[in-house]
């Protein structure tokens, strides 16, 4: 049974890797205290999902879904839908990353720390002094 499982995992190596990467990214986002590393973790997590999705569209032996040389036959191209989804997803991921980076910069300017726990404590003290 175990060999069968390993075989399956190796056969679908892309999916396996993407799930492992997803797990890594999720854990980094959750557990690390450094803000920049958290953002990196988020990106790894999202990218892993896009890898998974992109693989779903891939069909061996076929080309990129851009009509070239007038070949309109469906059989010549991979499934374009997942690629579209990945593009959308990348946009979303970039916006979130940008927002979080901007927040990180602001927080660093204010508290001179990139450690989330430390920042929370400092913010609380600052509030109590007012």
């Amino acid at each position: 049974m175990n060999i069968n499982l390993v075989q399956h995992l190796v056969l679908n190596i892309e999916e396996t890797v993407s799930i492992i990467l997803f797990g890594i990214g999720f854990t980094i986002l959750l557990l690390h205290r450094n803000l920049v590393k958290k953002i990196m973790g988020m990106n790894i997590m999202d990218t892993a999902t896009y890898l998974f999705l992109a693989v779903k569209g891939y069909i061996t032996g076929r080309g990129v879904p851009i009509v070239v040389d007038g070949i309109q036959d469906v059989e010549a191209y991979i499934n374009p839908v997942p690629s579209g989804l990945v593009l959308t997803g990348i946009v979303v991921s970039v916006s979130s990353t940008a927002l979080m980076l901007a927040l990180t910069v602001r927080l660093y300017e204010r508290y001179h720390s990139l450690d989330l726990d430390e920042i929370l404590i400092l913010a609380k003290e600052e509030e109590e002094q007012i």
């Binding site: 997803f22 990214g25 999720f26 986002l29 959750l30 803000l35 958290k38 988020m42 997590m45 999202d46 999902t49 998974f52 999705l53 779903k56 839908v81 997942p82 989804l85 959308t88 997803g89 979303v92 916006s95 979130s96 927002l99 979080m100 927040l103 990180t104 602001r106 927080l107 204010r110 508290y111 989330l116 920042i119 929370l120 400092l122 913010a123 609380k124 600052e126 509030e127």
Partner: protein, 500 residues
């Protein structure tokens, strides 16, 4: 196809375009545009609701040139209509109530950015209500998150920024899980549009294939959206986030944002995974358990809080627990109770936050119990508004909270195994709610004692007309939900029947 059927599409687009146009407008013009836009979209949603009530069924609307199952579509029915109308009303009143505070707290140059966030928030809420496509739902979930983050951090104080980053981190965890769940669903069914996906899922369940992946998908999507809506134990970001935003921000965040995600979750349950499948896998029991824990723990935390904003925020945690408990009961009656409580809680929590702002104004902007003593005498309308909101949360008859509790209790009676725990937890949590809410109400109506510190000079500020208007309208909304709940409950029941 009648003209009315375009309304859902119009409302989403209108909201988005208002956001885009506001980027070049000044603060005041952006504000007026936002208010007008909310009013118009609410009217459009009302039109949709009327249409669906008349025809008695929901309809799908093709977005773009490709029909299902390749293209994108939105779907409108009675439940979507009534939710959209209610959310629109709550948003309008929240923006109105916080009008002058927004003008004061936010820098002049960034005023229009605030209103852009409100516009985007409304558009994403409407899209979540109407969408029939999973990936569109994901995109709008992210837009909702970003808009929410914008609302939190528009005030540049330290606590806001740290609350915002915490919010983003937790939200992204939830979004990541939701996305991987979607992806797995696409992998297994090959569809992203909800209705075709459901057919595939039914087929898979019938043949027994991919049993474990389906289970994983259900779990991951539920947990993802549960994190985003603040179910216990994923609620740690709520007190900071709801407590420290501007009044409009707090009202909108607590009243609407979480509810949008819960609505999406209910939609996915009905329209993709199949509610009966869910009940069969006992996934609902997990949600029930967490909901019950949230009900108790949220109230317990609230009792120990001295900052009243955080206390109100913790009460939100408890109320979201109620909603998940209702979903977790696994019956239609439980779902109706949950949806009604979504409405009741939106209206009441927004009322509480807006009234609380009125009370803080006359207490030197302080939020602790000692400063608020006697605040109801200094600002009578806000005191009445807060008292009605508190009584509604406790479950006083004639107010919306009572109807919610009644619906929860009667639905609990239908499910034998969960009946006793549900009723006991309802009673205990009501008592806990009474402790911290009524304690605050009595403090508001007590006289100041000679040993209290004197308040700073700001105590003579009179609330703006906008705040007072918002409080009065919210009270009216609460009374309508409490006293004429029958048509609304009927609409919810009909809407759920045509929801899948």
């Amino acid at each position: 196809m009648s003209f009315v059927q375009n309304f859902p599409f119009f409302s989403i687009i209108l909201a988005m375009f208002s956001g885009i146009i506001s980027s070049v407008l000044s603060g005041k013009k952006a504000r007026n545009l936002t208010l007008m836009m909310i009013a118009v979209t609410t009217a459009l949603s009302a039109g949709t609701l009327m249409f669906c009530l008349k025809t008695g069924e929901s309809y799908t609307y093709m977005m773009g040139h490709f029909p299902a199952p390749w293209g994108n579509e939105i779907r409108a029915g009675v439940l979507e209509g009534v939710t959209a109308v209610l959310f629109g009303i709550v948003m309008f009143l929240s923006v109105t109530g916080g009008l002058d505070h927004t003008a004061r707290d936010v820098e002049e140059s960034k005023q229009n950015l605030f209103y852009i966030m409100i516009d985007l928030m409304l558009s994403s809420l409407l899209a979540l209500i109407y969408t029939n496509d999973l990936f569109t739902a994901y995109v709008f979930v992210e837009i909702n998150t970003i808009a929410g983050c914008g609302l939190i951090m528009i005030r540049q104080k330290g606590r806001n920024l740290s609350a915002a980053i915490r919010y983003m981190v937790m939200s992204q965890l939830g979004s990541g899980l939701f996305l991987i769940g979607l992806t797995l669903l696409y992998d297994v069914t090959g569809h992203l549009l909800m209705s075709p996906a459901k057919e595939s899922v039914e087929l898979l369940v019938a043949t027994g294939r991919y049993r474990i992946p389906l289970l994983v998908i259900m779990a991951v999507i539920s947990v993802g959206l549960a994190i985003k809506s603040g179910l216990y134990p994923f609620h740690y970001w709520i007190p900071d986030t709801y407590g420290y935003a501007t009044p409009t921000g707090s009202a909108v965040l607590s009243g609407l944002v979480s509810k949008g995600y819960i609505f999406l979750l209910i939609k996915i349950f009905y329209r993709v995974l199949g509610y009966d499948n869910l009940v069969g896998t006992h996934m609902v029991n997990v949600l029930y358990l967490f909901g019950v824990c949230g009900m108790i723990m949220g109230s317990v935390h609230a009792i120990s809080e001295t900052d009243t904003r955080r206390m109100i925020a913790y009460s939100s945690v408890a109320q979201i627990g109620y909603i998940y408990m209702g979903i977790g009961l696994g019956t239609t009656a439980g779902m109706v109770a949950s949806v009604f409580h979504i409405f009741a809680h939106s209206a009441t929590k927004a009322l509480l936050f807006i009234s609380a702002v009125g009370l803080y104004e006359v207490s030197g902007d302080r939020k602790d119990f000692v400063s608020l003593r006697g605040a109801a005498f200094r600002n009578p309308l806000a005191g009445i508004g807060f008292s009605i909101g508190a009584l509604s949360m406790v479950g006083f008859p004639m107010l919306s909270g009572f109807i919610s509790k009644l619906l929860f209790a009667t639905s609990a009676l239908d499910s034998p195994e969960k009946m006793m725990p549900t009723l006991i937890v309802l009673a205990v949590s009501t008592l806990l709610n009474a402790v911290y809410f009524l304690r605050l109400v009595i403090t508001l109506y007590s006289r100041r004692r000679p040993e209290d510190k004197p308040l700073p000079k700001q105590t003579t500020v009179r609330s703006s007309w906008a705040l007072r208007l918002a409080i009065i309208c919210f009270i009216g909304l609460n009374l309508v939900l409490g006293m004429s709940s029958q048509p609304i409950v009927q609409a919810i029941t009909d809407g759920l029947a045509m929801f899948d």
